[in-house]
């Protein structure tokens, strides 16, 4: 089931963050949502995740949603495997398979506080994916990782997406990340989807790809930044 939003609005006091926003996310599509800081990207994601009770408008979203947050948010008093299966009736071997997919089989007995940042984020992905979601929401999950870890985890996310084919909404402020990963890039501005751009380049993609370079300039302009860093 595709995800449809129409007339979605949310204000914090006087500040309108989402303003009668319309959006459709198609099945199996990898969408990146860009926006300046404070543009309401995370607000939109939280609305889709069912974490915002005060959002208004029509939100048609599948029940099968999973979220990976900016911080991994593992439950610290549950060992890794128990974190993956939390709230699931699924047998343990399914969770073990999920851990294997993110290369954490050997850490399945570890306490979350002993994991590195990259490991914890991978675990968070496994916890989301083991639920076989139709819609996977990623709230800047790579922003706290170091550059090298980020590259590997980008690859991992693409692999997992290719294998499980959920619709993905990746909230990010990183234009390059959006260009490398997504089929479709949205720019959120003034509470609405201001730009909706399809990316057809084959994966794996390279930053130097001329099509992507052009798109980067367009997207940066849409975000109010010129490539030289001046608006």
């Amino acid at each position: 089931m595709a995800t449809r939003l129409s007339g979605v609005a949310r204000a914090f006091g006087d500040r309108v963050v989402l303003d009668s926003l319309d959006l459709e996310l198609r099945d199996g599509e990898f969408t990146a949502l860009l926006g300046r800081s404070g543009s309401g990207k995370s607000t939109l994601l939280r609305a889709l995740a069912g974490l915002d009770d005060e959002v208004t408008g029509k939100i048609d979203v599948t029940d099968s949603v999973a979220v990976a947050f900016q911080e991994p948010r593992l439950v610290p008093w549950k060992r890794l495997l128990a974190n993956i299966t939390l709230g699931l009736d699924a047998p343990a071997d399914k969770a073990k398979a999920a851990l294997a997919e993110v290369a954490l089989t050997e850490r399945s007995d570890a306490w979350p506080l002993t994991l590195s940042g990259g490991e914890a984020q991978r675990a968070s992905l496994a916890r989301a994916l083991v639920r076989e979601p139709e819609l996977l929401l990623l709230d800047e999950p790579f922003s706290a990782l170091d550059a090298l870890t980020r590259i590997t985890i980008h690859q991992l996310v693409l692999e997992l997406w290719a294998r499980h084919r959920p619709a993905v909404l990746l909230v990010t402020h990183d234009v390059d990340e959006a260009l490398l990963l997504a089929d479709r890039v949205l720019v959120l501005d003034e509470g609405r989807i201001a730009h909706d751009i399809s990316i057809t380049a084959d994966r794996p993609r390279h930053r130097e790809d001329p099509d992507l370079v052009t798109l980067r300039t367009i997207l940066l302009a849409a975000l109010g930044v010129s490539p030289e860093g001046r608006s």
């Binding site: 974490l51 439950v75 610290p76 008093w77 939390l86 709230g87 306490w111 506080l113 639920r131």
Partner: protein, 273 residues
């Protein structure tokens, strides 16, 4: 290459001197208490410290053996331990139950918390006269005093522990579609546990205190009775034996909680180390 050379001296020198040095310090720490005991024994033997004020350490030791052999001490310990245990269980259950009611819903908080906060301000030893009027001088007032004393630290700590659980984890629980029961079981209660264990230690401390006070007031059995009875006969040795047993029991229960803490909070170990 410089990295390899640097790596060794940073880690190594800390490890070697620490072990032996620690052991030396530990041994040193026994010196001053031992010296004090010797001085005390000498003072008693020379008559500087009269026995009606304080018995000699050697006398206290032999009295302890005598009381144990005669069965007086084990019986007294058994009675006192039972009072603390029952009072602790009753008060602990009440405190934690009330904290759950208050912590898990606003309505519960409004119903329970004002009363608990008001009662907390009451000095509970002041209740002894009322307790005697209500419950007589049997076991009930003693057990209830312990229960009352225990319930507050457990209530306050568990309540604040529940309210202090990370809201971000509650959001995770929501996205993982945990039911309310699962949320409480997997997130709220384990999240509140560290604070509850702090409350447990405080509760054990006041439990012994409450017992001592309760037993001094009106008792015909137990450690407090043994101590009070000894006062009538100027038996300072028996009094000191009683006090030592109180503190040994207090230390023992504290050690149990610490063991419990180590097991229950193992997930924090990697983080704290």
């Amino acid at each position: 290459m410089s990295v390899v050379e640097l790596a060794r001296p940073v880690g190594k020198p800390r490890a070697t001197p620490k072990g032996p040095r620690r052991r030396v310090t530990a041994w040193h720490r026994w010196l001053s208490p031992l010296a004090l005991l010797v001085i005390w024994q000498i003072a008693s033997a020379t008559g500087l410290l009269p026995e009606r004020l304080l018995a000699a350490p050697a006398t206290i030791a032999s009295t302890a053996v005598e009381l144990t052999q005669a069965g007086t001490l084990p019986t007294a310990i058994g009675v006192s331990l039972q009072r603390v245990l029952i009072g602790f269980l009753v008060g602990g259950a009440a405190g934690i139950l009330l904290a759950l009611v208050a912590g898990l819903s606003r309505a519960g908080e409004n119903a329970v918390d004002p009363i608990m906060q008001a009662l907390r301000a009451l000095p509970f030893f002041g209740l002894i006269p009322l307790f005697i009027l209500w419950f007589g001088i049997g076991e009930e007032p003693k057990i209830l005093l312990v229960a009352l004393a225990v319930s507050f630290p457990l209530y306050l700590n568990t309540f604040s522990g529940i309210r202090g659980v990370d809201g971000k984890l509650a959001e995770v629980a929501k996205t993982l579609k945990l039911s309310r029961g699962q949320l409480i079981r997997h997130i709220v209660l384990p999240g509140a546990l560290p604070q509850t264990l702090v409350g447990l230690r405080q509760a054990l401390g006041v439990a012994w205190l409450a017992l001592i006070v309760a037993e001094q007031v009106n008792a015909t059995t137990g450690l407090g009775y043994m101590i009070n009875d000894a006062r009538e006969f100027l038996r300072t040795d028996v009094i000191v034996v009683g006090l030592l047993v109180y503190s040994a029991l207090g230390l023992a229960t504290d050690a149990i909680v610490r063991l419990l803490e180590r097991r229950a909070l193992a997930w924090r170990r990697g983080f704290l180390a």
